[in-house]
Amino acid sequence: MDSNGVLLEVKDLQVQYETRAGIVRAVDHVDLTIERGEVVGLVGESGCGKSTLGFSILRLIRPPGEIVGGEMLFDGEDLLKKSQSEMIRIRGKRIAMIFQDPMTCLNPLQRIDDHFVETIRVHEGHVSTEEAHEWAAKLVDSLGIISSRLSDYPHQLSGGMRQRVMIGLALVLNSDLIIADEPTTSLDVIVEAQILELMKHLREEFNLTMILITHNMGIVAELADRIAVMYAGKLMEVAGTVELYDRPLHPYTQGLLRSIPTIDLERQELATMPGSPPDLIEPPPGCRFYPRCPQAMEICSRMEPPVMGKANRHQVACWLYEDAF
């Protein structure tokens, strides 16, 4: 991967939800850097804050959720300082999103090509409707959609086709950054594999910069250049994909990798991880993972480990590596 400069720098981001039971710190002081041209996998279990982080970048957090602190430098400018109208121009144009469920994201009363025309014309007013149709027709070919399907309504398409349309809508304006939130989770295995193949192909063709949010370690292994592991609102480990699979440092990452089921017939034992993720209203003091950690030490229950290691190298938030960096 070439280093083409930083596109997005998330600094000390804090997002919380106010609930009747108390304040849930869904994203708690998280730093993350995305370089141009790379695919970063953001992985973790449900409730770890990965989707909240993704939605925060587009400032799509709705009350009772709120971004309460931090900075998000996108191309040098802080997204948190942008006005609503500026954000509207950024969303869909400079930062696009692919959501999990294409059926709820497409307008059931609009033909597929009208989705494209609308997306294009909202941001590129000078483009005529005819031209926008042409753009769409050109693009769908690389998406594996026959152009005659453009006049269909969403319900006439299969789940996989709908997700191809969603991906197309994210690509049509050549956005600088694409955030894909569980893009294949609602799809069947074979269709999921087809869409993954498509995304691999598209990232080459369009030189995409992407944040891929998923709980599936198999998917990031195929698509991501770097992986960021989140747990209970915190960033636990960041590393290059091969490095992370070869040499996971954080006990949580290690456990996560061991407990992934595979179809490899040699591996018959499935490792287990005791307990479940903590309550984010009253998280344990110290490291969030220590109650489940097989290597917990005395310090882990008292003090929160900082993220250690150099940015863009292997980083980990764990006291085990205090002396290693």
Binding site: E45, M161, V189, I190, A193, M217, M273, S276
Partner: protein, 333 residues
Amino acid sequence: MSDNLVEVRNIKKWFPVQTSFVETLLSRKIDHVRAVDGVSFDIRRGEVFGLAGESGSGKTTMGRLIVRLVDPTEGHILFDGIDVATIAPGKMRELRRRMQVIFQDPTASLNPRMKVGEAIGHGLLIHGIARGEEKRQRVIEIMEKVGLTPAATLYEKYPHQLSGGQRQRAVIARALVLQPELVVADEPIAMADVSVRALLLKLMMDLKDEFDLTYLYITHDLATAKYVCDRIGIMYLGKIVEMGPLLEVYSRPLHPYTEALLAAVPVPDPRALREKALPEGEIPNPVNPPPGCRFHPRCAFAEDICKQEEPPLQHEGDGDHLVACHLYGALRR
């Protein structure tokens, strides 16, 4: 006593497609979704039999047919020699104690207004097995077995006060407290997180040994099936296309669809650049399934015979491995 706890014979379930009243008046033909369309298999005592396939393959309907949550259109299901398909409703209740279901979504499976302990013990009341203090004792006992501890405290909690993993444990406890012989587990871990999944699977397997259970394990996930199933049937559009011992099916898949399903499972290894032979398109509409072999429009190897004749599910050699493919002999490598 037969070796088979369940024998499914040529079972069909066709759901009528809802049409408007006017359409019904104007046409005599009612379309059907052929969810399960002529399926036969056995579940042997003490084994874990898996049914795997994509959504729309009919695997869930098949599970529901066995416990008769839906009535079959045609065919027979023998549970311990008794035909579930034709049994009188009153007799069915006694059978239901012997066959329990674990569904995918534990939150939807538990009454939000019933305390967890009460929910687990509800079946004991309904079947007149135990009440009062005895019921409570039995519930506490099973809660400890499934790891819902401290049981006395959790007994009094409501489902929303439990974590997702705990709720699924409660559902498992509720199924097992009746000491069933068969447990139909329909995607029991699909909603759980990776770190919790492994624990639930392990729990289910430990309980199987302890309670002498037989499982029907329904899943779309071939990777987790590997850890639990002894034998597996692969379903496609209402049919079983391949069936056999799991190791056999995974190491030597005979049907091109099975092969594709196995190839499609994401490999958690960034170095594994698999050569993928993915079939084109998606699972077709089960209202008008393709003639001949249902997989032929997506099959890279399809020949003329595949378009005309439906291949029967046949033994490969004299083993336990069955496949429904005209060409498996020629395709075998």
